[in-house]
């Protein structure tokens, strides 16, 4: 799991037409094959390019269902209060992401919310 980084703090937004936006901190270089792998549960994996894998941890429970139904989302990368770039990322839904999240210190939204 060492090749992954965790985003830790980001915003998901839903536009008026139901489109989903991810606001993330700006990253180095430009994305080449942006894709999000998601199983509808706690965490997703954002494949920004071949060597850059980012865990989108603790997806807000209120948006999970909408995210599950999305075929693509808009990624907006920001620097302080400015937008670095924005692009479309495909959503790849899977039944289960075969990773043991606990091994990298990730838990569930409920546990974190309760401070456990």
């Amino acid at each position: 799991m060492s090749e992954y980084t965790t985003e830790k703090s980001f915003m998901i937004a839903e536009g008026e037409a139901g489109e989903i936006y991810f606001y993330l901190k700006a990253k180095k270089d430009h994305p080449t094959t942006p894709r999000i792998i998601y199983d509808g549960k706690e965490h997703a994996i954002f494949l920004r390019n071949k060597d850059q894998k980012i865990i989108l941890d603790y997806i807000n429970p209120e948006v999970r269902d909408k995210l599950r139904k999305s075929k693509e989302v808009i990624i907006v990368e920001t620097i302080l209060e400015n937008i670095k770039e924005c692009y479309i990322a495909d959503m790849q839904m899977v039944d289960n992401i075969p990773l043991d999240w606990s091994k990298i210190g990730l838990s569930t939204w409920e546990k974190v919310a309760l401070g456990k």
């Binding site: 830790k8 980001f10 901190k25 941890d57 907006v76 920001t78 924005c86 974190v112």
Partner: protein, 188 residues
């Protein structure tokens, strides 16, 4: 109407509104801690790294907390252009909080670093840790990224080795820009 869903470990235990409250508590703690223990006196001036820490916090806090912090730390008519080689200094009754105004964006941090190079040895000694942090921040934000001004207007692209290349203004989707205006207070 835009709906927002804060996500990630740092957001999992608070709603958007709650984040403002929590964020403001953090500011209060930092103000107390920095003033109490980390304040440095340079030539009779209180110089702290509060500015940089506050900037990190305010990005998280949202406009409300930022406004409150503004009033407490530098607003209310207490701003004075003290000028250390052209860098503004925010003055309050508790002392001078160097960096609060400087930390609004990384370009101001750059000015801070430049000013530091021209400042006296005494001040350099006192602010060295803050300069190191500012430099690190600048490099992190700079590397291979487009630089925009406070209004989101494109200014240049940093291409490494201290060089910038100017390019035509990037056209951004207006929807995205509008949403960003609403969201930026709640995104780190």
């Amino acid at each position: 109407m835009t709906k927002m869903y804060p996500s990630g470990e740092n957001c999992a235990n608070r709603t958007v509104d709650e984040s403002l409250k929590k964020g403001w508590e953090k500011v209060e703690q930092k103000v107390g801690r920095v003033v109490a223990s980390a304040g440095l006196t340079a030539g009779g001036l209180k110089v702290t790294e509060l500015g940089f820490r506050l900037n990190e916090s305010m990005v998280n806090l949202g406009n409300h907390a930022a406004d409150v912090a503004d009033k407490v730390l530098g607003g209310a008519g207490a701003i004075t252009g003290l000028g250390i080689s052209g860098v503004g200094v925010a003055m309050t009754g508790a002392g001078v909080y160097l960096g609060y105004r400087l930390a609004k964006d990384h370009r101001l941090k750059e000015k801070f670093v430049k000013a530091y190079k021209n400042s006296s040895t005494k001040i350099k000694t006192k602010v060295t840790p803050f300069v190191a942090k500012a430099k690190k921040t600048i490099e992190e934000y700079r590397e291979g990224v487009d630089i925009t001004d406070a209004k989101g207007r494109y200014t240049a692209t940093y291409v490494g080795n201290g060089k910038y290349v100017e390019q035509p203004l990037k056209k951004l989707n207006s929807n995205i820009k509008q949403m960003w205006q609403k969201l930026k207070g709640n995104v780190r």
